[in-house]
């Protein structure tokens, strides 16, 4: 998961960018983007382990502190929302399963049902004759 700016910019600046993008992704609850950014962080960590922190990088990292604080707060709020959202997710899955079951027995589409019943009636009428 390589990003152009990740390779070109200094680690501190890259971190600030990642944190800001992660904040936006978290607000939009974009799990795919968050996973991409997590991989970027892993790459960044590997890069830092090798190179060590110089003065400029350390300063840039400190400048990302307020962005990190905001990400932390939004993470906290998102976690608090999760109980409600999980409940909603479960409700939707249950609804989808119920709808799936309903479709399989071909019973709720009024048109299809009418045709089906009509065939039954026709059979019975033929039987009567």
């Amino acid at each position: 998961m390589t990003i152009e700016w990740q390779e070109q910019l200094r680690p501190g600046v890259a971190l600030k960018g990642i944190v800001q993008q992660a904040t936006a992704a978290l607000i939009a609850m974009d799990a795919d983007r968050l996973e991409e950014l997590a991989l970027c962080c892993a790459d960044l960590n590997r890069g830092l382990e090798g190179s060590g922190l110089d003065e400029e990088s350390a300063r840039a990292l400190r400048s990302a502190a307020s962005d990190l604080e905001l990400l932390k707060c939004i993470l906290h709020e998102t976690r608090a929302n999760l109980a409600v959202l999980s409940r909603l997710h479960t409700m939707r899955i249950r609804e989808a399963l119920w709808l799936g079951g309903r479709t399989s027995v071909e019973s709720r589409n009024p048109g299809a049902e009418a045709f089906s019943l009509r065939n039954r009636e026709r059979t019975l009428e033929y039987g009567d004759n």
Binding site: V84, E113, L117
Partner: protein, 468 residues
């Protein structure tokens, strides 16, 4: 069953059901731009089958109106977050205004900059020390003192004016809250009488809209009651509306600011911590501004009393020992010192630059006054550091509230998108539903047409039999 009549009856029901489903979808499309509207889906209900000789025969389908797609738990969570978000937003607005009253000590702007005023005032004593008998230097001290006193007192006046403005805003918000709780009680009554056991559709939308507006204004708890009723309390648990009855918040003045009551109980502090716009306004009015004003009072009191003490300990240009008088008006208490701060000394000769009992050319007392700048005379700090801390504390509060407000706004966005997905009208979905129901209607019509032909054939068969 098993007759053509039964089949015609069944397909007539299907046509009615499709028509009703089309009506529900049409209503959704018509309300697509209505923010408070909750999407409805047709409530399909299979008719009871008939059993003949142990075999079940279906009797068709009925649509019993639309079912609103809402989730009360999700709506309540959104309301809660809106309360917190509205509170932090109004607090942030007030804190930003409050911060604007102070120019940071590091700023290069000199006008209205109390930090610069403090430095200039004590520097003017350093200038006087170099030439204790100079009338120009004495005028310089009085001029710097006047600028400092004016800036402190005008800032205090600004804070008092902001507090009064917030007080007025709080009253306006409470009037809106009372109107909403009255409306809520009326909707409650309608819902309980018309839909005690099911979703009340449009009325429920109206109630949710009232709750949402209320959540913007004040912190509330929602408690569902019997027969689809609802009670609303403040976050402190005081009743605002119970089913068909609302309890208005009343007001009374205490210590120059409005206090709010439910019955006999003063709920002002509970409202401040409760949330909503009102929570933010009251937090700023009762906590942020008084705290800042108290610091400003402490600064004014410290400078005035210490400078006056020094001036009365020396010898003025007229040769008076220990009787030069006050430079600033002498505050009797800390509270109110900033707003009342003024220079009372008009004669520059009465500035005591010389030490007690020393000749008028002496500079000992001017030096003592200049040294106050570096002494921890206000709350354990020098005057400049004390002011600097006041400004930086305020800046930290603004920064913290900004972060909090951004996070809460994000939380509201997350929840609102879920509510929109569940309850909002998606025109693509509705177009798809229209297509589906229209086809179902056409199919039922076709069945009806076929049955009609079969029925006519059956009648003709009877006629032919009779003729032959």
């Amino acid at each position: 069953m098993g007759t053509i009549n039964a089949a015609i009856s069944l397909i007539t029901g299907a046509l009615d059901a499709d028509q009703a489903a089309l009506d529900v979808t049409s209503n959704n499309v018509a309300n697509a731009s209505n923010e408070s509207y909750t999407r409805e889906v047709p409530n399909w209900s299979e008719n009871q089958p008939i059993y003949i000789n142990g075999e079940a025969f279906g009797t068709g389908v009925t649509v019993t109106g639309g079912v609103s797609q809402r989730d009360r738990v999700l709506n309540q969570r959104l309301d809660q977050q809106q309360q917190l978000s509205a509170s932090s937003a109004s607090l942030l607005t007030a804190l930003t205004t409050l911060q604007g009253s102070f120019t940071p000590a590091s700023s290069s702007t000199s006008t209205g900059n109390i930090g610069t005023d403090i430095s200039n005032f004590f520097d003017s004593y350093t200038q006087l020390e170099s030439d204790p008998t100079s009338n120009a230097e004495r005028q310089g001290v009085l001029s710097a003192a006047t600028t400092l006193a004016n800036d402190i007192s005008s800032t205090a006046a600004g804070l008092n004016a902001q507090q009064a403005s917030l007080d007025q805003s709080a009253n306006t918000v409470v009037a809106q809250v009372n109107a909403l709780t009255t409306a809520l009680a009326q909707v409650n009554q309608q819902i309980q009488s018309t839909s005690p056991n099911s979703d009340a559709g449009v009325l429920e939308d109206e109630r949710q809209s009232d709750l949402s507006q209320l959540s913007q204004l004040i912190g509330i708890n929602q408690i569902t009651t019997e027969k689809n009723g609802l009670s609303v309390t403040t976050t402190g648990g005081q009743l605002l509306a119970s089913e068909a009855t609302s309890v208005p918040i009343t007001t009374g003045e205490v210590g120059g600011v409005t206090h709010f009551y439910l019955g006999e109980t003063d709920i002002t502090s509970a409202l401040a911590s409760g949330g909503g716009q009102l929570g933010g306004i009251l937090t700023a009015r009762d906590q942020s501004i008084p705290t800042t004003l108290a610091s400003l009072d402490q600064l004014a009191y410290g400078i005035a009393t210490n400078v006056n003490t020094v001036n009365n300990a020396g010898t003025d240009l007229d040769g008076d020992n220990g009787n030069a008088g006050n430079i600033f008006n002498a505050p009797t208490q800390v509270a109110g010192s900033a707003a009342a701060l003024a220079v009372v000394l008009t004669d520059p000769n009465k500035i005591a630059a010389a030490g007690f009992g020393k000749g008028t050319g002496d500079d000992t007392n001017a030096l003592a006054a200049a040294n106050l700048a570096t002494q921890n005379i206000i709350g354990g700090d020098t005057p400049s550091n004390f002011y600097s801390n006041l400004v930086s504390t305020l800046g930290a509060s603004v920064s913290e509230t900004t972060t909090q407000n951004t996070a809460l706004t994000a939380s509201v966005t997350q929840l609102q998108s879920q509510v929109n997905a569940l309850s909002g009208v998606n025109l693509n979905d509705e177009a798809s539903n229209l297509e589906q129901f229209q086809r179902a209607y056409q199919a039922a019509s076709q069945v009806f047409s076929i049955l009609n032909t079969v029925y006519a054939s059956a009648i003709n068969m009877g006629v032919e039999t009779a003729v032959s």
